[in-house]
């Protein structure tokens, strides 16, 4: 008995040594990649990766530190995977992708198709599925990743924070993660939409710490409108209002501001604080039909005209105008997409598939080209004004008198 125990103990102690800790990596052996960019150069993929320099970020002394907080490595190879490994020829440490925050895809590559790239990032065990994917508009992903930012020291963090915040309170962007993108790609009757990112200013200055020394940085990153994809290929861009309209249809509005004209002259703003969109697709007389019902609640945000907000009638009038405004935006968005791209990015086909599978099976063959382009979409908005803000009527008319 005792002999057995001793043998067991010896074996287990030996186990500790023979394993050799094969995948052990200390924290200071990791090259933490927070942003990755993929471009296409002729037939090759150019992989750029933004590596955090921890020492620069966690400097104990307050104030700006000298030296960039991140480092960018690039490699051009036949495949993305080879590119990632090729980087080790420059980088002293092996890339660690689990903390990737954002994947930037160059516009040129996006126009050719992104599915080749997605296979590697969804297959490799180190990549999570919760990083955002954006498209570098009018520039390369490498350039986007080489712009320094100052509030968030890590540019990739700056990118995702800005994306999340703008989606949350303004809604012209949409934050799409890898798993959401793949889901959009594989769903019948739906096509993906990604947000674009642009460089404003000179990219060559943006990559130096000089960029951080001025109050208005010479170069900064800015989210543009949304990119429309036909399956995995980029086909065009929406403008800002269309992007908002897209988010309305996708029930992706948390908080945004709309701009509505007053009954007489002037304008007023309405802040949406809660919104819910229902989409329903059905067959009517052998033609597909989609109903969109938007229910929103919000506050009066800004008044620049002479209206009496203390009267119930005025509020009702305003609600009517907001309803018209929002349904017009949505209708125009749909119309533009139907005319310009003929790509069902809203998932009307998916809704049809779910509500009437038999009909969908007949329609799906030429859904985008024929049926989607001529689709009859009814939009209905239901708006409730809940609060007027801190003051009642606008002070503007009183100043004029």
């Amino acid at each position: 008995m005792t002999k057995k125990i001793i043998i067991f103990m010896i074996i287990s102690i030996l186990f500790l040594f023979i394993t050799g800790c094969w995948n052990r990596r200390e924290l200071n052996e990791l090259a933490i990649s927070v942003g990755e960019g993929i471009d296409k150069e002729e037939d090759l993929y150019k992989v750029s990766t933004q590596i955090v320099i921890p020492g620069q970020i966690e400097s104990k002394t307050a104030g700006p530190s000298f030296g960039a907080p991140v480092e960018l490595f690039t490699a051009t190879e036949d495949t993305v995977f080879e590119g990632v490994r090729e980087i080790t020829r420059e980088s002293p440490r092996k890339l660690y992708h689990s903390h990737l925050r954002v994947l930037v895809i160059g516009e040129a590559l996006a126009r050719e198709g992104i599915s080749d790239v997605l296979d590697f990032v969804s297959r490799d065990h180190e990549f999570r599925t919760d990083f955002y994917i954006v498209i570098a508009k009018d520039t390369s992903a490498e350039n986007v990743l080489s712009i320094l930012t100052s509030i968030e020291k890590i540019p990739a963090n700056n990118m995702i924070s800005s994306l999340e915040t703008s989606e949350e309170v303004w809604a012209p962007t949409t934050a799409v993660t890898l798993d959401e993108l793949i889901k959009m790609l594989v769903t019948e009757g739906k096509n993906p939409v990604l947000t674009g990112i642009m460089i404003q200013g000179d990219p060559s200055i943006g990559g130096t710490t000089q960029n951080l020394e001025k109050i208005p940085p010479s170069t900064h990153l800015r989210y543009s409108e949304m990119a429309v994809f036909k399956k995995d290929k980029l086909v065009g861009w929406l403008d800002r209002d269309q992007s908002k309209g897209y988010n309305f249809i996708m029930d992706n509005i948390n908080n945004t501001v709309t701009d509505v004209s007053c009954p007489k002259e002037g304008k007023f703003n309405f802040e949406i604080i809660q919104s819910k969109t229902n989409m329903e697709a059905k067959m009517e007389k052998n033609t597909p039909k989609v109903d969109i019902i938007i229910q929103s609640e919000g506050n009066v945000g800004e008044v620049k005209c002479n209206i009496d907000l203390s009267k119930q009638k005025t509020i009702e009038e305003l609600e009517k105008r907001i309803e018209d405004n929002i349904s017009n935006t949505v209708k125009e968005t749909i119309k533009a997409v139907q005319e310009d791209f003929s790509v069902d990015i809203f998932g009307f086909g998916d809704a049809m598939h779910r509500s009437d599978t038999k009909a969908w099976n007949k329609l799906k063959e030429d859904w985008n080209e024929t049926h989607f382009a001529d689709l009859d979409v009814q939009v209905q908005a239901d708006i409730k004004i809940r609060r007027l803000g801190k003051i009642g009527n606008s002070i503007i008319p009183e100043i004029k008198e």
Binding site: F17, C21, N23, E26, N28, L30, P54, R101
Partner: protein, 543 residues
């Protein structure tokens, strides 16, 4: 040829083995014989001649310096020779002269009631010596053992009988506040080194005639008094029988502390976990006795053993019952949390930072990575260094004289806290982990439990460094299996959790209000399960 040689060799070997066995047997027999003769010698009844007895005693005790022989001659004609024997230091000499020598010399002088020689002993015992504890003794063995344990012996010339008189020197350490288990609220008395004082401290708390004490002597040489205390009618008889049986099996020459007994009677020897609870507090022992447990007191140590003891008992403190139940419950959960922190904090840190970096939120990872830049050791070595440094400091702090202890703690704080980090040997995060582990280990009220957890922690760290979270998970499952396999005097160690017992939950992890603690622990107590029937306090109803 070769074969034959081998065979011959084998036979020779066989023969030798036999010879050895026989020798062993012979040795054992002679040993037995020796001890038997020794017994006979000591069992010898007292010789009537006083001079002979003195000679015999001096021989037995080897003319010890502290062995005092006082011979007095009393009676009208000073014809009665009385010998008084005691060991100096064990006996209160002042009282010996006041209550034994003085009455014998003066009161006895005038006594007319002695008619025959037979009356003499009765008179001495019944009307002369003014001491409560007086007993007859008729053989040298018990005489000598009484002498050694601090009794005064009186022998009268011409009689084969004497008396042992209890006048032990009670000039020991006073009852003071226990150094280990201090409380904010609750009794501030602790056991001392004297068995009698300790039993009295318990008796003062439990004034029931059912509180029983059984005393026996253990230790061939030291002859240490060991008492079993229990409350008849409440105690689990099976456990009591088991305690008696296990104690009687002990055959050791010396017994200096209760740990000797603990190690000799515990259920599982190859386990880091203590299966016998020890305490310095009479109130804790009383509470355990009231739950039906058995206490083992050893003369010479303030630490009293309590059996059977369960895993959860080591996370309960006396104070849990002296303060509000809701707070006590919170504190108990805190202790369990500290148990996990002590056990797992360093190993989880090692596993996560070396294998599972994806589990750390990105900003934290960058912060940790920044701290680790330039640290020359792997996380495991770093943790091991710090943990061992801490253990050294802790041990050093205990052994150092109190005045130097301060210096140790200052050096420790400087060395661990500041210098090591600033020099870049150790990352700041590791210092935090080691510090929280150390502090958490002191939250566990039972010192012996916290030591064992500290020990297992190193195993966990090693596994975490080689296998990551898989190692920790495997070790944790093993730990739970081990804990569930232990028994303390037949009671499953992990009860009331495994086996799960609903009524016993009320005072294990939770501490329900006192009016809800109506029954004693079911597994400990097999009879007389009901403890109280107090109703819950209610405000007077409105009329």
């Amino acid at each position: 040829m070769l074969l034959e040689n081998i065979r011959a060799m084998r036979e020779i070997k066989k023969g030798e083995a036999m010879r050895r066995r026989i020798q062993k047997l012979i040795k054992k027999k002679t040993k037995d014989l020796n001890s038997k003769t020794l017994d006979q010698k000591q069992k010898k009844s007292i010789i009537s001649s006083l001079e002979e007895s003195i000679k015999h005693l001096n021989e037995t005790l080897g003319n010890s310096d502290d062995f005092v022989v006082r011979k007095i001659s009393v009676g009208k004609e000073e014809d009665i020779n009385i010998g008084i024997f005691y060991i100096e230091g064990l006996v209160d000499t002042e009282r010996v002269s006041d209550f034994i020598i003085e009455p014998l010399m003066f009161d006895f002088q005038e006594d007319e009631s002695i008619h025959s020689k037979q009356d003499l002993l009765t008179v001495i015992k019944d009307s002369t010596i003014a001491v409560g504890d007086i007993q007859d003794v008729s053989d040298y063995e018990s005489l000598v053992s009484s002498l050694a344990s601090g009794y005064v012996i009186i022998l009268v010339d011409g009689f084969t009988k004497g008396f042992t008189i209890g006048l032990t020197n009670e000039n020991y350490r006073n009852v003071t506040e226990p150094s280990q288990e201090t409380v904010v609220r609750g009794p501030k008395e602790g056991f001392t080194e004297t068995l009698r004082t300790n039993t009295a401290l318990i008796r003062r708390k439990i004034n029931s005639p059912n509180l029983r004490i059984e005393t026996r002597k253990i230790g061939e040489v030291t002859q240490t008094q060991v008492s079993i205390m229990f409350i008849k009618g409440i105690v689990n008889e099976k456990v009591l029988e088991e305690v008696r049986a296990r104690l009687s099996k002990i055959n050791i020459d010396g017994l200096l502390e209760s740990n000797y007994i603990e190690e000799l009677i515990q259920d599982k020897t190859f386990s880091p976990f203590p299966t016998i609870y020890n305490t310095e507090r009479p109130d804790v022992v009383s509470a355990c006795l009231l739950e039906g447990r058995v206490a083992i007191l050893v003369n010479g140590t303030p630490f009293v053993l309590v059996v059977p003891s369960l895993f959860i008992q080591f996370f309960q403190a006396a104070e849990d019952h002296y303060q509000r139940w809701d707070f006590s419950t919170f504190i108990r959960f805190l202790r369990i949390a500290c148990f996990f922190i002590t056990l797992l904090a360093p190993s989880l840190f090692i596993a996560i930072t070396t294998y599972h970096q994806e589990m750390i939120p990105t900003p934290l990872l960058i912060s940790l990575a920044a701290q680790r830049e330039g640290v020359p050791f792997p996380a495991f070595v770093e943790a091991l260094l710090m943990e061992i440094t801490f253990e050294i400091l802790r041990e050093g702090g205990i052994r150092m004289p109190k005045a130097v202890g301060q210096a140790i703690s200052i050096v420790g704080t400087l060395v661990i806290g500041t210098a090591a980090v600033e020099a870049g040997f150790i990352s700041a995060a590791m210092v935090i982990i080691v510090a929280i582990t150390a502090i958490a280990s002191f939250v566990i009220p039972a010192h012996n439990m916290s030591i064992s957890i500290r020990l297992i922690r190193f195993l966990f760290m090693g596994l975490a460094a080689s296998f990551g979270l898989f190692g920790i998970t495997a070790a944790f499952i093993g730990l739970i299996l081990h804990l569930c396999s232990i028994r303390s005097f037949g009671i499953p160690y992990m009860s009331p959790f495994g086996p799960f017992n609903v009524p016993d939950q009320k005072d294990s992890l939770f501490r329900l209000p006192l009016w809800r603690l109506s029954t004693r622990p079911r597994l400990v107590n097999q009879q007389n399960i009901n403890r109280e029937q107090s109703p819950s306090p209610k405000p007077p109803s409105k009329k």
